[in-house]
Structure formats: structure tokens, C-alpha cells
Symmetry: none
Subunit: 258 residues, 2 copies
């Protein structure tokens, strides 16, 4: 990266990365502790939520350190130190967390084992393809190469969104009340946050300059990760709570009336 | 290690080690939290799973640091810094975790105490011999020495696999339904992942050059560890869940019907 960043640009990414570390680990603690608030059948969903944001917190910590190493302060601006910012942390993170985000959803929907297994197999293969295609584009600074891999990665990306959109639509129809409206919200959060990724990827290809593009990518991906993992985890938690109530499950109710 | 690595080779190992740290600790959090999802008698198996991946996460963190120390960037490539990459971390890890992986399996199979104890004693002795023989070969760069210790280590290695294969085969026959198919899966994961170790060890002896061999060993061992510890732990969890269901155990069953 031969980009020169203004102090404001460097600090913006620096602070967004730090904020994301805090938010991810905080969300992890919440989901881990909150799992006993829901019926046993929905607890794996919350446990997986906590694992996902924990993995993300680790990778944001690594990216924060890598960002500091990648730039040197000179003459009132931040210039490349010669060590590249390691984009691979994002892809390593997504390689583990994208399938797990799908596991969360499948776990909270309470689908049959056969249905879950077929859905997860197809979506995991699609997400590995999506990331495998995205990475060579991400580390390239050539617009043609970036476009080529962007288009390739968009095919499995659209497939995943299509499957989830349909699956969630079907789940919405089967439900009533709070569960129904929360499923609708989960669908909105999922679709809205996932779209930020391919758009942030486009930043250097739509006329943004080197520094502006770099900042747009880093801030964009961080906001997308916060939404797709932490906020999405909160919706999963609310869904699990609503389903727990709908199921009539209560923690050891006999204890109170005894 | 006087190996010169290309940026791509160095980065591949670097990123695989980092991903493994994340995956191991994440798996640890999951197994620790998931132990209350299974009947009390299977919880020690999940607790041991979480301990195993926790130990591995620690050692991968050490290896990640050791890898960074072992190389210096010069003239567009990574050359040895003079400090050797510490292979002992892997052997220290295996010395603790291999017997514990066997404990996990024995714990989830629910064998009698006498049977478990005899099995674990024999397998622990065999695994200490296997690692004790493997290590002098691992740190040698001479093909003759590597071959000698490889053959020596293969004897206890094959003994362990033989015993486990038979034991799991017997367990499979005793079971039906989900438990039966999951036991089959545990056997596959175990055998498939364990074979990667002696094959990765062979890399420098089958004509791979210094740099390629080093990368093949590190990536090979990491994938094997991810499979033999984290993925295997997931199968142990599924087995414990299936056995919990087959046993008819439920958390606070009175609560639902009260």
C-alpha cells in the first residue's frame, strides 16, 4: 500500500477498528451469558453468536496492530511503512464466521435435521467460493483484476442471499406475532448488512482515490461486520427469546410456586 | 532453518497460524459453553474437548510469534533471521493433547471404568513413545535421520490407530440410529486427520525443496490439528447430543409439564 493518509483518515480507521474490537468482545460476553435466558433448544444459536463475535474480536485486534505497523507518521501525514496492511485477516475471519452465521440462523429457525444439513452444506460451499474468488481481487490494486473477481464472487454471494431470502420468507409465513416480526427484522439486518461488503469492495473502482478508497473499504467492512455479526446476533437473541415465550418454556417454574 | 521463503509462502503460513489460533479458541468457547446441552455423564468429554483446543490455541499463539521471529524481510523475500522456528511447541502440545483426545473419545463412548483405564494406559504410553521418537526426526534436516525416526514413530502410531479403529468398530456395532452413524463419522475424522501428520513429516524427504517442504509441513500440521482437535470435538459434541437424546435425558424436564 503506497497510500498517504491524512491524520484524520488514519485516525478514523484506527478508531473504528478499536471500537469494533470493544463491540465484538462485549457482544460475545452478552451472548455467552444470555444463552441461559432462552430455552435449551435455542442455546446453541446464542453460543454460536458468541463464538462468531469472539473470532471477529480476535481478528479486529490483529487488524488494529497491523494498521499501526503499516503506516509511519512523517511530515504531518501517514505514509506507508513498507509493511502491507494484512487484508488476509478479514478473509480468514469470514472463512470461519460466514458459515457460522448461517448455522446461527438455521439453529434459531429450528429446522429439521435433514433440512438444516442440506441448507448448510450448500451455503457453506457457496461462501467458501465467494471468499476464494473475492480474495485475489481484494489484494489486487488493478481495476480490471478487481472487477473480474468481484463479478465471480457475486455469483455465490447472490446465490446465498437468494436462498436465505426464500428460507426466511417461508419461516416468516409459518409464524405469528413477535416471532413473525422479528424474523422479518432478521431478514432486513441480514440483507442490508451483507450488501455493504461488495459495495465497499468497489470503492477503488468507482473513482475514489487511493487514500479515500482505503478508508472507505476499512470503515465500510467494519460497519458491515458490526451489523452482520453483533447486531444480527442481537436479533437472533430476540428471536430465541420470543420463540422461548411462544413455546411456553420457563426456567424451573416449579421452584417459584413450590 | 536456512530457508528463503517468498512473500506468498511466508504469508500463507503466517495466516494459517493466525486462523488456527482463532479457530481453536473459538472452538474452546463453544465446547465449554455447550457442555450443559448434554447429559451430565457426557459433560467431561466436552470439558476435555475445550481444554484440548485451549492448549492448542496457546501453542499456535506461541508458534505465530516464533514464526515472525524466525524470518526477516530482505530484498523482497523472507530469509532466516538466525533464530530457529521452535518446532518444540508442536511436540509439547501433542504430548498433552494426544492423550486428552483419547480421553474425550473414551469419555463419550461411556466404557466401563476398568476398560477405560486399561485402554487409556496403553494408548498414552504408545502416544508418548510416538512423540518421543518423532521429535528427534522432526528437528533433523538429514533425510536418513528423519527416515529412521519416522519408521520408529510409525510403530506406536499404527498401534494407536489399530486399537482405536477396533474399539470404535465395536462401539458402532452396539449402537443404532444417529449414534451409530456419528460413531462412524468420528472414526473417519480420526483416521483421516491423524494420517496427515506422518505424511506432512515426509515433505522434506520426498523431493520437496527446503522452502516448499517447510510450508507443506506447517500448513499440513495446522490443518491436521484443526481437524483432529476442533472438527473432532464437534463430532464428539454431536455424539454426546445424540446419546443424550437416546438416553431420554432433558434439562429440568418437569419445567415444561408443570
Amino acid at each position: 500500500m503506497d497510500t498517504t493518509l491524512s491524520v484524520l483518515q488514519y485516525d478514523l480507521v484506527f478508531n473504528v477498528l478499536s471500537l469494533t474490537i470493544a463491540a465484538m468482545f462485549a457482544a460475545g460476553l452478552f451472548f455467552f451469558g444470555a444463552r441461559t435466558q432462552v430455552a435449551p433448544k435455542y442455546r446453541p444459536a446464542l453460543l454460536v453468536s458468541s463464538v462468531v463475535v469472539g473470532i471477529a474480536g480476535y481478528h479486529y485486534y490483529r487488524m488494529f496492530e497491523s494498521w499501526k505497523e503499516a503506516f509511519t507518521f512523517a511530515d504531518g501525514a501517514y505514509v506507508s511503512s513498507g509493511v502491507a496492511f494484512n487484508e488476509a485477516y478479514r478473509y480468514a475471519d469470514w472463512l470461519i464466521t460466514v458459515p457460522l452465521l448461517l448455522v446461527e440462523l438455521v439453529a434459531v429457525l429450528g429446522l429439521s435435521r435433514a433440512k438444516s444439513s442440506s441448507l448448510l452444506t450448500r451455503l457453506t460451499i457457496a461462501s467458501v467460493l465467494m471468499l476464494g474468488f473475492g480474495y485475489p481481487g481484494e489484494i489486487s490494486s488493478e481495476a480490471g483484476t478487481r472487477w473480474f473477481w468481484w463479478v465471480a464472487a457475486m455469483i455465490p454471494f447472490l446465490y446465498i442471499l437468494y436462498v436465505l431470502f426464500n428460507e426466511l420468507g417461508r419461516a416468516v409465513e409459518d409464524q405469528t406475532g413477535d416471532v413473525r416480526s422479528l424474523l422479518g427484522r432478521a431478514r432486513t439486518v441480514l440483507i442490508a448488512s451483507w450488501w455493504v461488503y461488495p459495495v465497499a469492495f468497489l470503492a477503488p473502482m468507482i473513482g475514489l482515490s487511493g487514500a479515500t478508497a482505503e478508508v472507505a473499504i476499512q470503515v465500510g467492512y467494519s460497519i458491515a461486520d458490526l451489523t452482520a455479526k453483533a447486531l444480527y446476533g442481537i436479533v437472533i437473541y430476540q428471536l430465541a427469546r420470543a420463540k422461548t415465550e411462544a413455546d411456553g418454556w420457563q426456567e424451573a417454574p416449579a421452584a417459584v410456586t413450590a
